[in-house]
């Protein structure tokens, strides 16, 4: 079987050549045939989600999604893939929980909705009672071998947790503090990121994680560092409008603050990616997305004020500087009028024994007769 080092090389090589699955398939097929791959059972629970990550995951070209699922992983429960429904489906979930504790991978897709005990998000019906996403994820998560959160919503709350967050949504890690959650962020997460993480878990165990719990093999560097338009940035050549071919930094590109390997991996079977079609990166893999990344056409996020008003960061900065300027000019004018500046300067600069004092004297106006 492939060593872990070779696997990591293939992850990068596959991203550059765009054939990650083609590269990984032959050694995997050998390993599967030799019985070296221990098929990990997988259950996926969807909470507050648009199912975008499932759609993204299904967007695998070669080999087919079904090949990977049947050969590498034992995909047991997933709403989108399930053929069963109702009690039969829930029974599969319960069976996995009871018969395979600490063996299965729990994948969570969607934010954890906490408002009113999580009752705005029901994911099952058992013993005449609706089960909330919160209950289900905690229940399954505590006995899972690995907990993987996929997509922005499951990792850090995502759009569902956007201001003012009426559903009190949050990421999986916050409701499962006992477990280390592997975050595969993105809106949606790239199919390679999801499947690559699952493959790593199946073959080599937990991958090395970066500062926000994301696998380093996909989220090690910023988009900016690997961007093909980096040379424009370094030379100070910027697009002034979206749609232009230069660096999109000035029109709000979040590449410098976003950790992902999109520039080399690209999307839709390596066909294109946002910057490739001249739109800025919106920073969808980062914590705080989308609030901290919006407006997508400006660098800094708008600051919400009570009442729902949002003010741009630059406006706040300019406002503060404007106020300071007005205050200094106002003080200087008043000091001149009152004679304070003269007094201070004379007091601290003259050096004779008899220091002159300054006193404001009354001004007499002279009037002349106007010649008619």
């Amino acid at each position: 079987m492939l060593s872990r080092r070779d696997f990591l090389k293939l992850v990068v090589e596959g991203a550059i050549l765009g054939n990650f699955y083609q590269l990984i398939t032959p050694p995997l097929a050998q390993a599967v045939a030799a019985g070296e791959v221990n098929k990990l059972p997988v259950v996926m629970i969807e909470t507050g989600t648009c199912t975008g990550d499932t759609i993204s995951l299904n967007n695998i070209w070669t080999p087919t999604f079904s090949d990977i699922l049947t050969d590498i992983l034992d995909w047991r429960y997933d709403w989108t893939m399930l053929q069963a429904q109702g009690d039969v489906a829930i029974r599969v979930l319960e069976e996995t929980y009871e018969k395979m504790p600490h063996e299965y991978i729990l994948i969570v897709q969607g934010s954890m909705i906490q408002r009113d005990g999580g009752h705005y998000n029901h994911v099952g019906f058992k013993n005449g009672k609706l089960i909330t996403g919160l209950e289900m994820v905690r229940h399954m998560g505590l006995k899972a071998k690995y907990v993987v959160a996929i997509g922005s919503c499951a990792t850090y709350g995502g759009p569902a947790a956007g201001y003012p967050n009426p559903s009190q949504s949050t990421g999986v890690q916050n409701i499962l503090p006992e477990r280390r959650v592997i975050n595969v962020s993105g809106c949606p997460a790239h199919p390679d990121w999801i499947m690559g993480t699952l493959l790593h878990l199946a073959l080599y165990g937990e991958p090395e994680l970066e500062k926000f719990g994301r696998p380093k093999l996909f989220y090690k560097e910023t988009v900016h560092n690997r961007c093909p338009r980096r040379r424009f940035y370094d030379q100070g050549i910027f697009a002034t409008e979206i749609g232009q071919k230069e660096c999109l930094y000035r029109v709000g590109c979040k590449g410098p603050v976003t950790y992902a390997d999109c520039p080399i991996r690209r999307w839709n079977d390596r066909f294109n990616w946002p910057i490739g079609c001249n739109t800025p990166c919106i920073g969808c893999t980062e914590p705080g997305y989308p609030d901290l990344m919006s407006p997508f056409t400006a660098h800094s996020p708008d600051i919400p004020f009570p009442g729902g008003t949002k003010v741009t960061t630059d406006s706040i900065g300019l406002g503060v500087l404007g106020l300071t300027s007005v205050a200094i000019i106002g003080h200087a004018v008043t000091s001149l009028y009152k004679g304070r500046i003269h007094k201070n300067l004379l007091k601290t600069s003259l050096k004779g024994k008899h220091q002159p004092t300054v006193k404001k004297v009354k001004t007499f106006h002279q009037y002349r007769l106007k010649k008619i």
Binding site: E210, K211, F212, E221, T222, Y233, D234, Q235, G236, I237, F238, T240, Y249, R250, K254, P256, V257, T258, Y259, G283, E286, P287, G288, L292, M293, H299, S300, P301, T313, D314, I316, G317, V320, L321, L323, T324, S325, A327, I328, H331, A332, T334, S335, K338, R340, I341, N344, L345, T348, S349, K351, G352, K353, Q355
Partner: protein, 217 residues
């Protein structure tokens, strides 16, 4: 050791000062290390702020090589941190606590504000620096340390200072805090320059020569 030290002036200078029948006393106000820190920090902080603003929002009227702007930003930051380290070491060695706020500074602050708002004819008595200066310099010191920590965290890109990333919550928040700190510096530095020029010009001179004229006690 007191801040006021016996002055060792060159004989011709002393002669000239005597001829001018100088009334005030000449005291050493700022040691050489304080002056090196002040002007070094001034230059490096100006570099940090200007390049930081350019990196934040590339101006339309200026086409610069951003690779070099970034290098200037980084180099200025390292220099500024070096100067601050120098000042801290100097303060520790001389046991100089003139920049650390005390309760009496807070008590005097409303009176000082009264003076600045023309409600009092003169400022309240103070230590080496008045209460406004102490509070502002101390806030600069703290904010510079915060900004340095954030700067180092982003410089190391998550290799070190992981706790800073966890505390802050992401690159975008880090960037925003640095911007807010910049605005604070930009709002208070002009105030510092304005008051230095209009309140006590002798103190400004002391930041160059080290010596200040003060009325005899």
């Amino acid at each position: 050791m007191s801040m006021k030290q016996a002055v060792k002036l060159r004989r011709p200078v002393l002669k000239q000062l005597t001829q001018a029948s100088l009334q005030n006393e000449i005291v050493l106000s700022h040691s050489i290390w304080v002056r090196i820190f002040h002007w070094g920090f001034t230059v490096s902080l100006t570099g940090i702020i200007l390049t930081g603003l350019i990196l934040h929002q590339p101006p339309n009227f200026l086409v610069l090589n951003f690779g070099k702007v970034f290098i200037v930003h980084l180099a200025s930051s390292w220099f500024a941190m070096g100067f601050v380290a120098l000042r801290i070491t100097d303060a520790i060695l001389r046991r100089d606590n003139s920049l650390i706020p005390k309760i009496e500074d807070l008590k005097h602050f409303p009176k000082l504000l009264g003076y600045y708002f023309f409600l009092r004819p003169s400022p309240p008595p103070n230590r080496k620096y008045n209460s406004g200066q102490v509070l502002m310099y101390f806030s600069w010191f703290l904010l510079f340390l915060v900004a340095s920590l954030l700067g180092l965290a982003s410089y190391w890109q998550g290799k070190h200072l992981l706790w800073v990333w966890h505390m802050v919550g992401g690159f975008q928040v880090l960037r925003w805090i640095k911007f807010a700190v910049t605005i604070y510096f930009l709002a208070t530095i002009p105030l510092h320059i304005y008051l230095s020029l209009t309140e006590d010009i002798s103190r400004l001179q002391a930041m160059v020569t080290g010596y200040e004229r003060k009325p005899p006690p």
